[in-house]
Amino acid sequence: MPQSADKVLDHAELFREPEYKEMLDNKRAKFECGHPSNMVTEIADWTKSWEYREKNLAREALTVNPAKACQPLGAVFAAAGYEGTLSFVHGSQGCVAYYRSHLARHFKEPSSAVSSSMTEDAAVFGGLSNLVDGLANAYALYSPKMIAVSTTCMAEVIGDDLNSFIIKAKEKESVPEDFPVPFAHTPAFVGSHVDGYDNMQKGILSNFWKGAERTPGEGINIIPGFDGFAVGNIRELKRMLGLMGVEATILSDVSDVYDTPSDGEFRMYAGGTTIDEIKEGLNARTTISMQEYCSKKTLEFCEEVGQETASFNYPLGVKGTDEFLMKIAEVAGVEIPESLRLERGRLVDALADSQAYLHGKTYAIYGDPDFVLAMAQFVMEMGGEPKHCLATNGSKAWAKKTEELLASSPFGQGCQVWAGKDLWHLRSILATEPADMLIGNSYGKYLEKDLGIPLIRLNFPIFDRHHHHRFPIFGYQGAISVVVKILDTIFDKLDTEADISFDLTR
């Protein structure tokens, strides 16, 4: 073996050394049951054919590589944005590990959540004792200011009633009577993480607002939604609001939660919206959601308590940001400040400067429903075509809305909407109707490798690149950073493929 202390190879390189190559080839020859390589190639090519595509799209029972996560993940994320809040997942013991891993890998930060760890006994007798003991233990172990309870499938299938269970737990003094324990039912077999986010947001707000006396005021609440770029985006949102002289309550502010410093202090809880802010939020005049599909039920509840509501679809780019800021200005009764006008001008200037490279590019966009809508609109603003818009967790209503968006622009002609499809569907779609770029999350890297279409990571989760979420994609300045990612991808490809056109100036 070639290993030596002077040149220790990590496994990406180690197993490319000659003797490992030989060993691996032997393995393939002896244990693969030896399909000839030309047959393997033939089959692989067939899986990129229209024939395979038809078969693939006809798939109805099997889901392959879905671009969505489950409700409890969204609930844990929503709860994390409230100060001192511990997520408590009522269900089988193993599920919460996934949520913690998913969030930790994307944000590169600790992600705290606990489980009621139900076993077979609970399947027979119900989960009350697990929840009662669990709340007591969580409260004692972690000293939270709030415990937000969500469910996994098991609790739903056996029919656990969280509301009465929590009442019972307080009677048994697992937690003090006035200690906030909001809850939401979040079975994985309904909807996706965006629904879980919605349910938990509604659960938390209900816990404080239901039955409380409202003194209508002029305040504004903003619900960011489930957002992999929440750290950078919420900070940018606050900066823009500051420039406008507007104060608003961010309902679930994870920007500090998922970006704690290394300064010698361990923060199990850092930042987040305070309980006082939640309570005061009841009196707001308006609650604005930045992601419609993450907040349908929550906004309905806000209307029930007497607030005006508005929602956006992950406002990105010129038009998206314009509309959002105009709404804020309208509700708050302020003007758009010169500083933001300049920022808009700079974004438009950047688009104009680079339009020769942006116009006519084609994209496949996959991810959460709001994000896909936003990104499709933004690429059309640049003269690009969002050829394929896919949301595994997209509904029929979402599909209709997306089709209307595409129909509103000549650059949307011939583009297709794929609601409910997964990334294996997308592989067939792109193998037969390619696009220049993929926009989505880390799971798209298999498509990038397989089909040679560059991937731009702009959605949750991003596991294989670091720290992108610390910079905004919201706002005019955030939109420029999206444009830069797209342009860098275009130029990198130009340079990689160029021979006589390897130009110094682009």
């Binding site: 202390a5 496994h11 490992y20 705290s112 760890s117 172990l141 079975p187 994985a188």
Partner: protein, 488 residues
């Protein structure tokens, strides 16, 4: 769950091959070796997770999870098992059951159609169908569905009945082993049998670790006929009944499978480790001795000794440049059961001081061994909440934490370097040269200038108080909790 599964769980929990289990009274034995779960604490993996860990490395199989999205949709391709062939195991297949399908009892029909679709569109060597909490609770019986599908489509369809709520990750490992034994082992015959055929059980080829050892076995002419499941092909499980010896690598997770192979096919097994130079040599010696007892030519012993001498010399020479850079460094270990003692041993060979090791997943036997190796029980501790781990890292003044990914950020906040030695690691550490890799990783972690900068107060802060004098630290006395802070 079904009576069949209930009985199987009870049987698995009463593992005759487990020395610890044999020493228990009947009541304790019935309870099994699972730690008591603590509601309200951070929970770790479940039985489904354990089964998936054990079986996903079978690379040419389509792993189809019969569940709502969560169990697999959130987590596909999140392990670091490496493959020399098919990538099929990295694809996330699920029936993604919806509420309507659950309420209406349509799960089994959907499963059958999903199996058809996966076979038609992916041509796997086999399909492993995993049950989960939801499908078990609503009464979907995957066994007859798999049987019918196998008959209909001509591809093996193996039921893995592992709803998460039945128990721990360790239990899931065992249930997976039972399923393989029941449905797969013995269903194919090797083209040739040799006196050098072995099974390796419990290695998952994380970051290609199996491949750091295989060249050694190749040099000795030893063939890995059966594998559960590192870089495995379905055929390598189907044929494992023809091996001469079984080596069990992960000390307890799949012992039931090793025992069954011995009972049914007369294949003796031993437990060994490839972590650390001494353990690697010991494992090779034991393996060769057993092969010779089972009919391999006697010269295998001498060839093995020659190989061991050569490799040990080479490895120790390669390690020497690192020794001055890591000797005396203080290591805190927070890992699973078998790694607790095998890694301690390996690190001590390198002159490092292990200031603490978690025993939360260790068996009594593991703990005894650790006490022997470390010469004291003062360094053993149970689970820790993040803030307690943080305090321990500082109190023990560890230079490096070796653990899995979810402790990473606690270590970093405590300004302590961290090396990933768990299932998601990116570098292989097995075999003789695996130690070189591990040393390099530790060296790079500890000697990164970042830590000096990080620990140096920011220029606007007052200098820190002088360091307290070193006193022996009894980690076992630290305030902690038996709550299960599952890390992997």
């Amino acid at each position: 769950m079904s009576e069949a599964l209930k009985n199987q769980v009870a049987a698995v929990l009463n593992e005759p091959a487990c020395a610890t289990n044999r020493s228990k009274d009947d009541a304790a034995r019935k309870k099994g070796c699972t730690k008591q779960l603590t509601p309200g604490a951070a929970a770790g993996g479940c039985a489904f997770d354990g089964a998936m860990i054990a079986l996903q490395p079978v690379t040419d199989v389509a792993h189809l999870v019969h569940a709502p999205l969560a169990c697999w949709g959130n987590g596909y391709d999140n392990r670091g098992s490496a493959s020399s062939g098919s990538d099929l195991y990295r694809t996330g297949f699920t029936t993604d059951l919806s509420e309507l399908e659950i309420v209406m009892g349509q799960g089994e029909k959907k499963l059958f159609r999903a199996i058809r679709e996966v076979i038609e569109q992916q041509s796997p060597a086999a399909v492993f169908v995993y049950s989960t909490c939801t499908t078990a609770l609503v009464g979907d019986d995957i066994v007859p569905v798999c049987k019918a599908a196998a008959e209909r489509f001509g591809t093996p369809v193996i039921p893995i009945d592992v709803p998460g709520y039945v128990g721990s990750k360790n239990l899931g490992n065992k249930l997976a082993g039972e399923a393989l034994f029941k449905y797969v082992v013995g269903t194919m015959e090797p083209e040739v049998s040799t006196p050098y055929d072995i099974n390796i059980i419990g290695d998952f080829n994380l970051s290609g670790e199996l491949w750091q050892v295989k060249p050694l076995l190749d040099k000795l002419g030893i063939r890995i006929l059966g594998s559960v499941a590192g870089d495995a092909r379905y055929a390598q499980i189907a044929k494992m009944h023809r091996a001469r010896v079984t080596m069990l690598v992960c000390s307890k997770a799949l012992i039931n499978m090793a025992r069954r192979l011995e009972e049914t096919y007369g294949i003796p097994f031993f437990e060994g480790s490839f972590y650390g130079i001494s353990d690697t040599s010991a494992a090779i010696r034991t393996l060769c001795a057993m092969l010779v007892e089972r009919g391999a030519p006697a010269d295998l012993i001498d060839r093995a000794e020659a190989l061991i001498a050569e490799e040990e010399a080479c490895a120790r020479a390669a390690l020497e440049p690192f020794r001055p850079r890591v000797a005396g460094k203080r290591v805190l270990l927070y890992t699973g059961g078998h790694k607790s003692w095998s890694v301690v041993s390996a690190l001590q060979e390198l002159g490092m001081e292990v200031v603490g090791t978690s025993v939360r997943k260790a068996t009594e036997e593991d703990k005894t061994r650790i006490a022997e190796i470390m010469g004291t029980e003062a360094h053993m501790f149970e689970n820790m909440a993040p803030r307690d781990m943080y305090a321990a890292l500082r109190a023990a003044r560890a230079d490096v934490l070796m653990s899995g990914g979810r402790s990473q950020f606690v270590a970093l906040k405590a300004r302590v370097p961290w090396v990933d030695v768990n299932q998601e690691k990116h570098e292989p550490y097995a075999g003789y040269m695996g130690m070189v890799n591990l040393l390099d990783a530790i060296d790079r972690a500890i000697n990164n200038p970042l830590w000096a900068d990080l620990r140096t107060p920011a220029p606007w802060d007052a200098p820190p108080a002088p360091a307290a004098p070193v006193t022996p630290l009894d980690l076992s006395a630290m305030a902690g909790t038996r709550a299960d802070f599952e890390d992997c």
